[in-house]
Amino acid sequence: MTRVHDMGGRFGDGPVDPAPDEPVFKEDWHARALAVTLAAGALGQWNLDTSRHARERLSPKDYARFSYYEKWMAGLADLLVEKGVLDESDLTGQGDGSRHPLADRALKPDAVAAALAKGGPADRPSNVAPLFVAGQAVRTRRPSANALVDGGHTRLPAYAAGARGHILRLHGTHVLPDTNAHGLGEQPEPLYAVAFPASELWAHPEHPRDEVILDLWQSYLEPA
């Protein structure tokens, strides 16, 4: 019901290496991979949720063996074909190299800074009224699955499924990734910061007052 990217709480990964002197891009191709991904995204053929889902649905074997930017490249190649921007013959080097119908939309060098500065806010007006108020007890749905698409994108991590917490604050109404990743519309709804005691999530919490806060959409929650 969940996918390999959903790794919060997993055991066995070993120490974190802080690598204090690591450059922003450890390899030149890392920088290139990031830039190709952002520039291809500017063609407007998919949204942020679609591209996250493209990386998440790499096979578990690929997800584990690929480094970070390799996942980005694989997700991008898959999306380019899936959305019809390229076909598979393009990826094998047998494709037509002529100008693409979408070429007019290519991100130009002098438009880059403005495009990055503009960003893409996720808050939208919504007719879904907030059901919960700060302090109210809530429980997350279980299992942590997309309710509309089997195996689809969702942002409720498995470790927090079925957990009881309380509303910390309302962030406003935001695009719902569960629909937006699958071409089912933005369906904006209330988004909350929800606090969970560590003892609700883990068998052996480190400290009795520790908490984990997650940003969760209203449809992930029910009153508790």
Binding site: R10, G93, Q94, A117, A122, L201
Partner: protein, 221 residues
């Protein structure tokens, strides 16, 4: 004209066909990651879909222009000006945008201030969400499986990997960035910094202290 991508379509030896319906398109690209990126860039460039000069510009921005120095200015101002600190914890997006910091992966910002009682720490267990306009591109460790897996369950053990230990009675709040809200940790102002300028204060603010895996430098350190 066909493009020579070398062993592009060859599958690695001995790898069983484990996709239940079809091969994923990415498997057509060369196995070497640097060549894989180069191949995609070349294909997209030939079709006019991307402009290599625009890629250079994107890289220059994130390598040289946008980074933790932005976030450090916000923290230093919060330390120096209680009114700003209050406004920051009320509506960080607005006051940070007024300082000129806004954009991709920083459209919605919440600032969380450390106190003697509570230490804040930020992670994205599902991917690598991070406040780009304030801190730049996330470091390798932030994107690592080990950090993503462990930060929510054993934050103190993760802090120990960074050489940080907290007082026993300090609680930890771990913020898992599951939506488009990005979190900036405001570390506690170090002792002995009274009367310092915002500029000098900003020099004490480390990247990791704004993620919650580090503490600011002490003056003179």
């Amino acid at each position: 004209m066909a493009l020579d991508l070398g062993s592009a379509s060859r599958k690695p030896d001995g790898m069983p066909h484990d996709h239940h319906d079809h091969d994923h398109p990415h498997s057509h690209l060369p196995p070497d990651p640097a060549l894989r990126v180069k191949a995609l860039e070349t294909i997209l460039t030939r079709k006019g879909l991307i402009d290599p000069a625009a890629l250079d510009e994107i890289i220059d921005i994130y390598q040289n222009r946008i980074g933790p120095k932005n976030g450090a200015q916000v923290v230093a101002r919060a330390w120096a000006d209680p009114g700003f600190m209050h406004a920051l914890t009320e509506d960080a997006t607005a006051v940070i945008a007024e300082m000129g910091f806004y954009g991709r992966q920083g459209e919605h910002i919440t600032a969380v201030a450390n106190t003697d009682d509570t230490h804040n720490m930020v992670v994205c267990t599902l991917c690598s969400c991070y406040p780009w306009p304030l801190l730049g591109i996330p470091p390798g460790w932030y994107k690592s499986d080990a950090y993503r897996a462990r930060a929510v369950r054993e934050p103190r053990k993760v802090l120990a990997d960074f050489g940080v230990s907290l007082p026993e009675d300090t609680a930890v709040r771990v913020w898992d960035s599951t939506a488009e809200m990005r979190y900036l940790v405001i570390p506690q102002r170090p002792a002995g910094t009274e009367g310092m300028s915002e500029e000098d204060l900003a020099a004490l603010v480390t990247r990791d202290s704004m993620i919650g895996t580090g503490l600011p430098r002490e003056p003179g350190q």
